[in-house]
Symmetry: D2
Subunit: 336 residues, 4 copies
């Protein structure tokens, strides 16, 4: 880590700072310039928060040399991580397609949806049992009953289940869930990250609405540092000034992440845009961007859906779209 | 709620939509234009998520007429809410000053800090026992031990305690805490909002890093709908492209909120900027913007602080700043 | 346009408002609700600025029913606009590849670069003669001399020239330029838009750093309303909080624009990311997103480039990338 | 400037880079680390664009040590710049109040408005003659005729005139204008900045919608490097995801700028929020934030204004507000 100190900072205060760092076990190297003094900090700086140092009165600027994340870092783990869910793989050349309704509504709905997804070549079934809603008055999902219906659909189709965990108090209900989703609003719920780091289920970690790629990787680092190495990252759009789409899909995040981490990355065009008409097109961009999978909302009858209905595509549109996805996966040498 | 349907939407599908809403208990009023059909939706639309409707294939645009929040809405509760914490008030003409270190580090640190704050005219003691940190390797606070030290400082000074809750599992440890802080990263942790809505302690709800004022009020609505009417809103800066400050303090949010809600609003210039040098100046802007209080980081020795050290001001700077705050509170007819 | 008036607005002031609009030639239709009065405004509202109405003290919310743009609107011009530059087409099934260095540096550089681009299948030569630079001390381009060198390269290769206009005072120097580029920082330089609307050259209009899609289309409307129908839109990334890339490529803007306008859209992954390593991958996403072309920086020796050097790819990388682009264009039924 | 090179970068390419910089007249200092090589660049780095270096394939990160701006930098010019407009001062303890309508509409309107502003204690008259409008169909101002009316109002009241320049072609019409305003959309119109840097009139430089404080200062540097030292900075809100206000007033920018530059700073709460109701409150925050002045829209009959009408306050509200501004200026030891 490189720390640029202000002209005004006297040698005494700079010495105090270097002593403080050395007391923490770092080696320091000062170079006195005409305009400022530069401190090089050598050692494991991953536990230092840049903003803390930046905030020091004598500090002008701070620059990390090595990334603050280790376990998720491709530098220390070159080969792609492959998440294997009872034989269904995501990562390292295997492309996964997670599809299903925003909310589980009924057995008929989820089972028919699962069958259609399976038939079209989807590899995972998603569905919300516990739903995060901005309003306390909105539908919050069927909860435990919803989980049961997902498992029924799994029994019918064999598709592994992906569903969101909203509270650690529900964790025991998730025993038969195959992949636990951590939603965008919980990406920095650090207590939750600690706990799921201790369970041995694959985790799908969505990017927060306004979190940087580095913060996102730090949240994945929380999970891995707990011992759970099966983390899938999910880009779902970030919040910007643009209102034509619900969020702005950060497609560049896919190749950027591929260089930074060995973890698989899936893209969710449904939440990224909030518009079903854009889902097939953006799904294609995800494949050629190098993503390891997709997460799309599919509903047998979107306009009747209880929530997020119309960012869902129909099974017919999904089946049609899967044709293109298969062609592009072949082009990218990915198996689907 | 006004729903503008696309030209392309045939009368049949519009009828389906109106029927669907009427089945949910709304009255509808259609007006057929040359370019589009406009549906007026009459009834309690607070449980409808605008984005869900916006996402419907036949819908072009949606516009709320009445706000989706009720209990926090000043329209239905004209007079200011005054949160009274064992006689110390925030709101309705009473200005509160919440001060203290980012993290509780030792009895000596927190007690001396509390004494200095009390002496300078601060009215609440803040201090982190459970700390949210971006990195799993960073200091996470003294936890339960930190809460004990806060209570010691309270015994010594009589200052009510404000500290952050990071997990519902810790709730029983918070029995003697006076005000529970919900951090920016948990502003939309809906399960947590539900639970604290059932407890009868004042809640300080920080604004999320990238949440709109309306989303923030909806989170306050969660707490109030649980039965807890003692909610204090805390503006702490939003995330933007600007990097000169850690976040961008949305000072306009204060007068905007004053018109929308009866709840008290405090401003946290320490987290908003991440720079101690800016804290006294921005604290002054909060008072004249109409805020009901401040939340500032004060540390006896900022440069030795374990976290966020240097966004903290010293007790001397705090005492000095309080002189200006008192003068401006008088100017604004607020008692401090 | 739908105008929702506040409860507080008395009938008298609402009448004043409707009279005011009717005086401007609009028809109005009021519907009195319990909570508010809603005014429907019928007529050509394109000359009304929503923000002006929104700002009226008695107005709560405003909602456009019809878009404020006409000439660029696909609703009134269903078929794709094809921009034909001496036989080289962009739009309507023709894919254009605009490539070249950020800055023209020497005859040797631009000619060799143009030859390599031609050989690899590029269809336009780009190069900066007048360069916008954040710093007054940075290299600003070869100016008139740079334009001459571009024309030399055109003579050598036959590739049409695309280069940026930074001041109307330079317009007469652009007589032999084939496509005039309006940079992101001039997207709302309305006097410039007026003038180039009167010339009969194709215009490449870059999106502003923080402009919405609607604002961008309004700037294109400026050019078309001047009589110039040959406008090409260029998505080059928007400014967000994310710092991993220079800007955030808004890939969803491509399909969104395809539905809103008949104008061709090209994508510039070089400026969008500021990282050459990402250019080939993001170029692929542009094709499958439905773009009509690409604008990429190619430099024979990026690390020696005088400006933006290293967001440029080498001719070898460009040639390699063009193989993928051709395959994906075929997949999208586009001719290149 | 500190350049952190990638592990992968071999010594040969690092040598090439250092040679390249030394050829440009810089001294370099390399320190070889285990993980990376760090190059220290000594010399006048103001003409180097950080993003260019950042983009180099072998470069991991770049950090400026000294700011890229010199003439506007407080480090090299400690005392406040005072802009004196025929005896009316802004900066260095003198607080200026620039007020007037968004657009000049008629002699009666501008003269009556000017008289009211003068009577209430305003020190400058503002009014738009040439208006930037998002839509080509919206009212664009009275242009030359508007300038004449402003001069009439100046003759009547003695108030110096502040009005926006939208094109260099109009410059000769501005001979009798006292302060030339450069609008947000032209903040990075570098050709315009070059030209006005050569004229000897005070310039009011508005911040761009999405420009950083550093970019803003670089634009001021353009003007000063042309020889014009009379630059006034105007914070007018930045674009964020929040929609409750038109823009987000970055109040922290005021104290941040005070530390970075000696130039005076004024705040425009009218454009920052787009809501007249917020103008008096935010004007107060500007004074205590340390601003050197205000720019507010005042209109005799806002609801009849042709543009931005209702973000304007009435002369009565302005007069009332000026009472508070005077009190707070006294508190801040500023003369008004």
């Amino acid at each position: 880590m490189i720390i640029v100190c202000k002209n005004s900072a006297g040698t005494k205060r700079i010495e105090e700072l270097t002593n403080r760092f050395e007391a923490q076990g770092f080696r320091t190297h000062c170079s006195q310039g005409t305009q400022s003094t530069i401190i090089g900090l050598i050692g494991d700086t991953s536990k230092i928060d840049v903003e803390d140092v930046q905030a020091l009165p004598i500090v002008e600027k701070v620059q990390r040399v090595s990334e603050p994340f280790k376990l998720v870092n491709r530098k220390f783990h070159a080969e792609d991580t492959i998440v294997d869910v009872n034989g269904v793989k995501i990562g390292g050349g295997s492309f996964g397609v997670i599809a299903g309704p925003c909310s589980v509504e009924s057995e008929e709905q989820i089972v028919s949806c699962a069958r259609a997804i399976k038939a079209a070549g989807g590899t995972f079934l998603r569905g919300g049992a516990f739903k995060p809603r901005t309003s306390p008055y909105a539908f919050r999902g069927l909860k435990a009953k919803g989980l049961d219906l997902l498992l029924t659909a799994k029994k019918e189709t064999g598709l592994p289940i992906v569903t969101e965990l909203m509270s650690l108090d529900h964790l025991d209900l998730f025993n038969d869930v195959d992949v636990i989703q951590i939603g965008a609003r919980n990406m920095q719920n650090f207590e939750m990250l600690d706990e799921i780091g201790k369970c041995n289920k694959p985790i799908l970690l969505k990017r927060g609405l306004a979190n940087t790629i580095e913060e996102w990787l730090m949240s994945a680092e929380y999970i891995m540092s707990g011992g759970n190495e099966n983390v899938i990252l999910c880009e779902r759009g970030i919040r910007t000034f643009e209102t034509a789409t619900r969020n702005t899909l950060d497609i560049a995040a896919v190749p950027v992440l591929k260089a930074m981490t060995h973890l698989p990355i899936v893209v969710d065009p449904s939440h990224a845009t909030g518009k079903s008409a854009l889902v097939p097109t953006l799904s294609k961009t995800a494949v050629v961007a190098g993503a390891d999978g997709l997460m799309v909302e599919v509903h047998p009858n979107p306009s009747e859906a209880l929530c997020d209905g119309a960012q869902s595509i129909t099974p017919a549109v999904f089946a049609d779209m899967m044709g293109d996805i298969r062609t592009l996966c072949a082009f990218e040498h990915k198996s689907l």
